[in-house]
């Protein structure tokens, strides 16, 4: 910046800027990841060999399934950015995705009955 006193971007804009620079300006993920698609870390990885963001995601997803929306919320970033990171991690086979609740993975009648039973027992 020519004039360091000139505030051309405010603090609230900084995280978004960082996020998009870290994903190479890409905003479109290559995999279809719904809000509730379940993701989990798989395999072992050399932490030094992945980016800080990928390491954070893999740590969050170690030994548990979390939805795309939860990953974004826990890491305080947008779902767009998380989807791009997850696409990269999928390509590198460092995460696995579970059955989506899309057209082919809708919950069964038995699943819904379990939800009802659970809510009744709460």
């Amino acid at each position: 910046m020519e004039n360091p006193d000139e505030q051309w971007v405010d603090e609230s804009a900084t995280p978004l800027f960082d996020n998009y620079s870290r994903i190479g300006g890409r905003a479109r993920a290559r995999h279809t990841l719904s809000l509730d698609t379940q993701v989990r870390a798989v395999g072992s990885v050399d932490r030094a060999a992945v980016t800080v963001e990928h390491a954070q995601i893999l740590e969050l997803l170690a030994n548990r399934w979390l939805s795309v929306a939860e990953i974004a919320a826990h890491l305080h970033t947008t779902m767009n950015v998380i989807r791009v990171h997850l696409s990269d991690l999928l390509e590198e086979r460092l995460v696995a995705i579970g059955a989506p609740s899309g057209r082919h993975g809708r919950p069964s009648r038995e699943d819904l009955q379990k939800v009802i039973n659970h809510l009744r027992a709460m």
Partner: protein, 194 residues
């Protein structure tokens, strides 16, 4: 698909309604974690404004979503997603609706009209929904029959229930009514529908 695991099945429920109808309160009453907020940045290509010689004009909007989760079993998770406050983010509603089991439309009996867009949306898409009249603000002034009449629900089998978003058992009862309604709407042979 590459990298496909088994993973838990998710059940997605949408909590809709006008601004200030108690959506986040209801999500919090059922969620095992304090409701989380996440954001999606939406990019829209402006259409038909003027001819800029192939240069697309884009605008971006950030939409915030509140949601909660309830682990039903090791292989089954319930997610409750509140719709964005502004009705104009319909593309976000489309994403929320994909694969959703159903929607609960919260209605403020003093401001019924704020819930009309949500009712129209789910009616038009054939997504099972229930209408929950939130008694958040105390005594209701209308009978449920009057509310049903005012809402002009196309389908008389749509459950219309009362609930108090601050009261967890009341929220759970409303949610149970929704899941039961969604089950009743399922095809007899669920495997036959892809």
């Amino acid at each position: 698909m590459k990298g496909q695991g088994v993973g838990p099945q998710s059940v997605k429920v949408i909590v809709a309604g006008g601004f200030g109808t108690g959506k986040t309160t209801l999500v919090g009453a059922v969620s095992e974690i304090p409701p989380l907020t996440t954001e999606e940045v939406l990019t829209q290509v402006s259409e038909g404004v003027d001819d800029t010689g192939g240069i697309e004009s884009k605008t971006t909007t950030t939409v915030a979503l509140d949601f909660g989760r309830r682990t039903i079993a090791s292989d089954l998770v319930l997610y409750l997603f509140g719709t964005p406050g502004q009705d104009r983010f319909w593309f976000m509603w489309d994403e929320l609706s994909r694969g959703a089991t159903g929607a609960m439309i919260l209605v403020d009996p003093r401001r019924l009209a704020t819930s009309f867009p949500a009712i129209d949306y789910f009616e038009a898409r054939g997504i099972p929904f229930v209408v929950a009249v939130n008694l958040f603000h105390g005594q209701r002034r209308n009978t449920l029959a009057e509310v049903r009449e005012a809402l002009q629900l196309e389908d008389s089998s749509v459950p219309l229930i009362e609930c108090d978003a601050r009261d967890a058992p009341s929220c759970r009862a409303a949610l149970i009514a929704l899941v039961e309604h969604a089950m009743a709407r399922m095809p007899a042979l669920p495997e036959a529908v892809g």
